[in-house]
């Protein structure tokens, strides 16, 4: 599916589509490896799987230009990767090493910000990324720079006042902001039916005067298409967009959580909609790629991740003498 031209061909070149597939596969491979490391007791603290969210993080992130800014969250591993944050740095962060993105200061994907890559690091209070991205967008407006800010939040965050406040403020200022709401059905153990009385979170955007739409969050073409339209709208002065990407959190809230509270048939239903398998089928059907090529991509990703694991595990721990460094900017 392609929202820019629903009847026409995919606006992406074959090479771009293969890149998207690579980022999705790398995301899945790294995510799977993180889970296995933690299960082997080689992890540190808690961690979060993004399984099932590859289409959203990669599809939306791929719609941004290099000068655009993004504030992803803990299910958006793919977005960090395609912006240039390497598996080695990300894993070293997860293992608390001095070579990690945040030099042992913050856990798992939290605080993996790097302004050289135009990535803003998040705090656990997830909707906090929304006004921060809005502020970045307002800074671009102020300086009349043709840049866009994008952020990601979940269904849980959409219940907060901050979510509504930020959309309202973004609409008032017609800010170049794209908000991706990853509706993955659960906030920790609480199903969406116990969080809100409405069916679609996109209504909340509409209510605040923000152009809002709903997409299939497991269809990377749909995500990329909608995100591209939203980014172009933002860049051309058309104001903010909210995209509700419906998906499913395929594992627990965090690594410790078996998610026994999720009905098995719900998981089964969404397993059949796996975003990576679906995209591979699309690429096969369109003659863009084939199983041999997929095998080669998988092998490449596996090797990259293996090398990242070695790097992270062999990296030095932070020097305890540095604990008080960096509280303040010089």
């Amino acid at each position: 599916m392609n929202l820019r031209d629903p009847a026409g061909e995919d606006p992406l070149s074959e090479a771009e589509r293969r890149q998207i597939h690579y980022w999705m596969r790398l995301t899945r491979t790294l995510d799977d490896r993180i889970i296995s490391l933690w299960k082997q007791g080689r992890g540190l603290g808690g961690t979060f799987s993004q399984r099932g969210h590859e289409a959203i993080s990669v599809g939306a992130g791929f719609a941004l230009g290099p000068d655009d800014v993004v504030a992803p969250m803990h299910r958006d591993l793919g977005c960090y990767l395609l912006r240039g944050m390497t598996p080695a740095r990300l894993l070293a962060s997860q293992l608390g090493r001095a070579t990690g993105v945040n030099r042992g200061r913050d856990a798992n994907l939290h605080g993996c910000g790097d302004l050289d890559l135009n990535i803003i690091g998040f705090v656990s209070h997830l909707p906090q990324s929304m006004p921060v991205a809005l502020g970045a967008a307002m800074a671009f407006q102020y300086r009349e720079e043709p840049r866009v800010a994008m952020t990601f939040v979940g269904d849980g965050s959409s219940n907060t006042g901050l979510f509504h406040e930020t959309l309202n403020l973004a609409a008032v200022h017609e800010a170049p902001l794209v908000v991706i709401v990853e509706n993955n059905q659960y906030a920790y153990s609480t199903p969406i039916s116990q969080q809100m009385a409405i069916e679609d979170i996109s209504q909340r955007g509409t209510a605040q005067g923000v152009t809002s739409e709903i997409i299939d969050g497991n269809d990377v073409g749909a995500v990329h298409g909608a995100a591209t339209v939203a980014v172009e709208r933002a860049r051309s002065g058309g104001g903010p967009t909210l995209i509700e990407a419906k998906t499913m959190r395929m594992l627990g809230h965090a690594i410790h959580d078996g998610a026994e509270y999720v009905p098995a048939d719900l998981i089964d239903k969404w397993r059949k909609l796996d975003p990576l398998e679906r995209y591979e089928q699309t690429l096969r059907d369109d003659g863009v790629s084939d199983d041999r090529a997929f095998g080669a991509v998988a092998a490449r990703c596996k090797a990259e991740v293996a090398s990242a694991v070695r790097f992270a595990e062999e990296s030095e721990w932070p020097d305890p003498q540095t604990v008080a460094e960096g509280v303040y900017a010089p």
Binding site: V101, R105, G121, V123, H125, M130, A133, A137, A139, V327
Partner: protein, 340 residues
Amino acid sequence: MTDGNFGFADQPASTGHQKTYIEAISDGLATEMANDPNVLVLGEDVGGSFGGAFNVTKGLAERFGDRRVLNMPMTELSFIGAANGMALMGLRPVIEVQFADFISTGFDSIVQFAATTHYRWGGSVPWVIRAPSDGGIRSGPFHSQNPEAWFVHTPGLKVVAPSTPADAKGLLISAIRDNNPVIYFESKPLYRSLKGPVPEGEHSVPLGMAAVTRQGTDATVISYGAMVHQALAAAGTLAGEGIDVEVVDLRTLKPLDTATVLESVAKTGRSLVVHAANRLAGIGAEIAAVIAEEAFESLDAPVMRIGGLDTPVPFSPPLEDVYRPDQHGIAEAVRRICSY
């Protein structure tokens, strides 16, 4: 609070024009907006011809344009959060929270995001929150608060609290230039009651440096904001009784200039900390602990503290007057420590 210049009459007036404390804040803002196009102002009612609940930003929109003075809806959490994003992108927003009491609405954006970002991943968040604080002006529980201790307790923030017009300007300019989030507590009771010399144009006062506002030998009174003037008034009274009081104005509450405090206490051997914020777990508790730890050998009397009561700030004058420290209570406490 009485009119007058609170013991500053002996300061040279030649260093600048006489300005009220609130005029000095406006002057600092305008000076830095003229200096740096990255400085912009945002907050409730700050824009247009209105210029804020206290008129601090009056004239700024006309002078610098509406794009640099942004009215915000009544949503501190999101507009302070937006300032976080602006600051990460290299702007230097100055946020007005109308009353310091309303800063709690923006708490997460301050203490969770702004305060932790540089430590966690190196992002610099150079904003200033101007928080009109303090009571004694019959404004009740929600327009009188002094919530500075919350922020002094938060790693990654800086906190300033000027007591003079010159410092109001100079500390504001330094706060705007600082590459970290700074909360600037301006004292409402001083706004129009206090006038003093303020240097024209370029004028900055470094963060983290206390000032010895009155030299003395018998006891040190350590304070900040409006209470500095109560301490000076008490010192004037006590001078007539043969007690020579030194007054230290902290000016910056974080980072705290403990060196100046300890130097003074080493000289006088007696110390009293005074603030309008409630005493329990306030700044005074920290300073008293530092003095006890670092200056024990110099002490001739226990370190004393005076602060607001551990109640919400009451409205009615007989209640607020009991709640709030004043020069008489300060003088009495100094007499006590001097009797050891």
